[in-house]
Amino acid sequence: MPESYPREHIEDLVDDNLEWNQLHDMMSDFKDADRFQQVRDVLQERVDWDDPIIIPYADHLYVVAKPDNRWVIKCDCGHEFCEHDQNWKMDALINVRDSEEDYLEIYPEDMHPHPDYMELREFFCPGCNTLLEVTNVMPGYPLIHEFEPDIETFYSEWIEEPIPTAEPESA
């Protein structure tokens, strides 16, 4: 039961270099206490910008601290979407698959939703064009804001650490 994995092990997790048996051991074992900090630190090294990562938000996305005490959602390409409690999708690019022809690019005939009943919304990062999320909803459905983390409670009560802050902008 490791309280903590070696730094190299966490780097391998982030870099997708672990073997299945190692991953399986991590699944079966008790959870290491400092995983969040370790993963955050490794991710911070992997990105090309300096804004402190507050939390990994989703694949490719982070909540980062900006100099003027703002927390924004940022892609690893550097594109900044919005404040951390807003829905980043409103600032994304979208492509909607809502025709038979669109569906057949991904699914065989008869094995995809009916366009009258369901559409696939693909959300891309305007900075790097990475596909960040695909949602399958009825036509006319509002955008789903999937995750509103309670960052203050997490830092102050769950891990009892100060929330990372950015260096003030020089004049």
Binding site: A33, A92, P142
Partner: protein, 840 residues
């Protein structure tokens, strides 16, 4: 095992217990602890729990703290005994459902019905049996029909505590010196309960009255013997009486093994220590759940929505004309992870129940969420009702998730349940992602379909029903660190198994023509969803034989995660009046698969009346010898941008039969070239394929550029969509009816919808006369509640009027933040006083 002295009579110890209880009753002493009635004990437990914020007022875990080894030994022994009961008793059963797929489980419960420990198996019933016990207590079974040593109770009423009628549960009380100390309970999935159509989960009925026989927390025996009235009752209500008789013996075997195990524990450790353990284990489980959440997730609000179709318009054999309509399930899913690590799960915004058998009750939803949590959040902790005490559920009364109407049908509640769970996996996964526990991330589960079901006169000239439980084996969602497991599991049975084809053929007159991995069933992604599989069946030596299909068709309920695509949806393929017999005789080719529905391969190898439709559900229809039926089992959803998938993995996918070659280019932008026509891999795709690295690199660059050119800013799309909704352009009646149903169910959802799209306050969708009538009909049907005497915990399901402010707000409005959420009052508010000694 306990040894009871041979005094020339059966169960002498049980008889002595019974005498003691009867003597006490004559003196007005209850069967609860310290002379309380069971109902008094239940009410006291609820009060103590609420007052202290700890289960049964157990602020300290004295046994665990003072004697941790013994505590763990006792719990492990109990759990081992439950697993042993399951593994042993399933050999008593005759149906492959139980014997092969292991569709049974056992639980040990406190006198008040809280589960202390649970076996492996269909652990969805960790809580459904709890509800049935609580129902008996709340409805004063102690007075009538009495709860005494040796009594046997049976329940399969969904409104009491079950998912659907074909999960039959047996409950027996365990006494010690005049006190009820525990309940043993077992559930298994039976093959037929006498619904209007053959099979365990018929789909053509509009109401409960077509679901099959319901036994409502019924006492069916005493002195550990079944009443003759019961033995002469249920066999005639099913098409498979012999299976049901053995299923009942299976459950009784397991329950008696558990009863003996409890007696052994009491003999070894004393009854007071057993009572202490039973309370502490639940409080320990409650704390463990919160500790686990605080260690692995983030507090906050997680949201999602899922949908599934149930298309009945134009179906044959519907039992009511008013059921001739299409239904869509809308399941908005909100999870609030509170500061103390407890869960608040809300389906506010869910639409109205329908005239179909996919409706749910609270027990079904709770059980369903339980089976998911035990596989994700608490896989290595005390799995018991402790977790239940860390969760609040808001299931809108009158919605498909909580009909509170005993007229509603529930035979295949799973169709909606499994679909509604889909976002919950993703809620957990988003939390795990943020905390860095990437090895736990899972994109979701598969919609567990198809369920080959039917019946008629079988190969032995007997009335028979079938239910292929191959659906216990589907593709699972992609993980963050690996692809999803192909044809591996079903959400509701974590030990899922498709069963041996040969064993199924012994009980079903449906020979297998082929069984293979189904390409493109798993969702595309950096990590691919696990593929489903398919079986091609024919029918032989039957008469008046019916078969039907069930599953998603026009919608896919499983969303992808982080850029992964949803799994494929289903379709129906049958052939009737075929020339299969002649083909056998002439040793000609015949269809064994339908791996690529576009290939024409199936049609080229059979002559007959072929039905190929993109829907998922059909009502029972007649099949004759040499007719054909495709049983297509779904896959899991994908995770991550497909363009980030290693190109070599896509080539492997082709050779493994997971991806059709043309989709390598379409879905993954991977260019492959066929280099050998003859080579055969572990796949239905003939040939050897090689990666063109350079062309792939170029194509991926092009594809990224295309994205930038074809995609539009969401703000622009929003304007178009808002206009579309205002003008109701290209929105079909089924979709509009679903929105209207949700808005009439939930003023919060209506406000949210109006606000989001900036619609006029009086905006309503225009419905056809038929749709309007359908909604009106169901909304006017009102409530017909089963529980007329709830204790506090059960008021949750009953007293939330639609005009009242619900306990859980709808938080999707942009202006609201997590900080605005109310503090919970239905759950415990305080922080855990002392952490559990392990990290879970």
């Amino acid at each position: 095992m306990s040894t009871e002295p041979d005094e020339g009579e059966s169960f002498p110890r049980m008889r002595r217990e019974k005498e003691t209880v009867r003597e006490q009753q004559q003196e007005g002493v209850g069967i609860g602890w310290d002379g309380q009635t069971l109902r008094e004990q239940f009410e006291a437990l609820e009060e103590e729990t609420e007052e202290t914020g700890h289960y049964a007022g157990f602020e300290k875990l004295e046994l665990k703290q003072n004697n941790p080894i013994e505590y763990e030994q006792m719990f492990a022994q109990l759990r081992g005994d439950l697993v042993n009961a399951r593994e042993t008793s399933k050999e008593v059963a005759a149906t492959p459902i139980v014997e092969q797929e292991g569709e049974l489980c056992y639980g040990l419960f406190t006198p008040e019905g809280d589960s202390i420990a649970v076996s492996t198996g269909i652990i969805v019933h960790i809580h459904t049996m709890s509800e049935a016990i609580k129902y008996m207590i709340n409805h004063d079974y102690e007075e009538s029909p009495g709860i005494e040593p040796g009594d046997i109770f049976v329940n399969n009423d969904t409104h009491v505590g079950d998912v659907h009628a074909c999960d039959i549960m047996t409950l027996i009380p365990i006494f010690h010196e005049g006190e009820l100390v525990a309940w043993a309970g077992g559930v298994n999935h039976v093959i037929d309960t006498g619904a209007i159509g053959p099979g365990s989960m018929n789909v053509s009925q509009a109401s409960r009255f077509g679901d099959g026989a319901y036994y409502t927390a019924r006492k069916v025996g005493e002195d550990l013997k079944l009443y003759n009235s019961w033995k002469k009752d249920y066999p005639d209500k099913t098409r498979t009486p012999d299976f049901l008789k053995l299923d009942e013996r299976t459950r009784m075997t397991g329950c008696l093994m558990i009863r003996d195990a409890v007696k052994d524990i009491i003999d070894e450790y004393g009854v007071e220590q057993f009572k202490q353990l039973s309370r502490e284990a639940i409080e320990d489980g409650r704390r463990g759940f919160r500790n686990r959440i605080k260690k692995t997730m983030l507090p906050g609000t997680y949201r999602g929505a899922s949908f599934v179709d149930a298309l009945y318009e134009g179906q044959d054999n519907l039992t009511r004309a008013y059921a001739d309509e299409n239904h869509l399930m809308h399941a908005p899913s909100e999870l609030h992870v509170r500061e103390d690590g407890s869960f608040q799960v809300s389906f506010e915004g869910a639409n109205k129940w329908g005239w179909h058998p996919y409706n749910c009750t609270p027990a079904a939803i709770q059980g369903g969420i339980w089976v998911m949590l035990t596989q994700t959040v608490i896989p290595n902790s005390n799995v018991n009702d402790g977790a239940y005490y860390s969760c609040d559920f808001h299931l809108p009364v009158g919605s498909w998730a909580n009909t509170q109407n005993t007229e509603t049908a529930h035979a295949y509640a799973w169709h909606f349940l499994v679909s509604a769970w889909a976002p919950l996996w993703q809620h957990l996964s988003r939390g795990y992602y943020s905390r860095g526990f990437w090895e736990e991330i899972n994109a979701g589960n598969a919609n567990t379909s198809n369920w080959l079901q039917g019946g008629g006169i079988d190969q032995f000239d007997k009335l028979h029903a079938v239910n292929s439980f191959e659906s216990a084996c589907e593709g699972v969602g992609a993980r963050y660190v690996e692809d999803g497991e192909p044809h591996a599991a079903a959400i509701w049975n974590p030990e899922g198994d498709m069963g041996d084809a040969e064993v199924w053929e012994m009980t079903e007159p449906l020979p297998f023509l082929g069984r293979a991995v189904k390409p493109n069933t798993g969702g595309a992604g950096r990590r691919a969803g696990g593929a489903g599989f398919e079986s091609m069946r024919t029918v032989k030596d039957v008469s008046r034989w019916l078969l039907y299909e069930m599953g998603n068709g026009y919608m896919t309920s499983d969303g992808g995660l982080f850029g992964g695509y949803p799994a494929a949806s289903g379709y129906i393929l049958n052939a009737q009046n075929t020339d299969l017999e002649e083909r056998f005789e002439n040793q000609e080719d015949y269809p064994q698969h339908d791996l690529d529905p576009e290939s024409g391969d199936f049609e080229s190898k059979i002559n007959g009346d072929i039905t190929r439709r993109p829907e998922g559900i059909s009502t029972p229809k007649e099949f004759d010898d040499y007719d054909m039926y495709l049983n297509y089992l779904r896959g899991g959803s994908g995770l991550g941008d497909p363009l980030e998938r290693e190109p070599e993995d896509v080539v492997a996918d082709i050779h493994d039969g997971y991806v059709l070659p043309r989709h390598a280019k379409d879905a993954y932008a991977v260019v492959v070239e066929k280099v050998d026509d003859e080579a055969k891999h572990n796949s239905a795709v003939q040939g050897e394929w090689e990666l063109d690295e350079e062309a792939t690199k170029e194509l991926r660059e092009e594809r990224m550029q295309e994205r930038a050119e074809t995609a539009k800013p969401v703000t622009e799309w929003y304007e178009e969509q808002r206009d579309r909704i205002r003008t109701e352009t290209d929105l079909i009646d089924d979709v509009k009816k679903t929105y209207e149903s949700s808005m009439r169910m939930s003023k919060q959802f209506a406000e949210f919808y109006h606000e989001f799209w900036e619609l006029p306050e009086d905006f309503e969708f225009t419905l056809s006369e038929k749709a309007e009538k359908s909604l009106e009909n169901r909304f006017k049907t009102g409530l017909k509640q089963k529980w007329d005497n709830p204790t506090k915990g059960h008021e949750t399901w009953l007293d939330v009027g639609r005009d009242d402010e619900p306990e859980v707000p709808y938080t999707w409005t942009a202006g609201r933040t997590i900080q605005d959420l109310p503090t919970p009052d239905a759950s415990f508010n305080d922080m855990t006083a002392e952490p559990a000694t392990d990290d879970d």
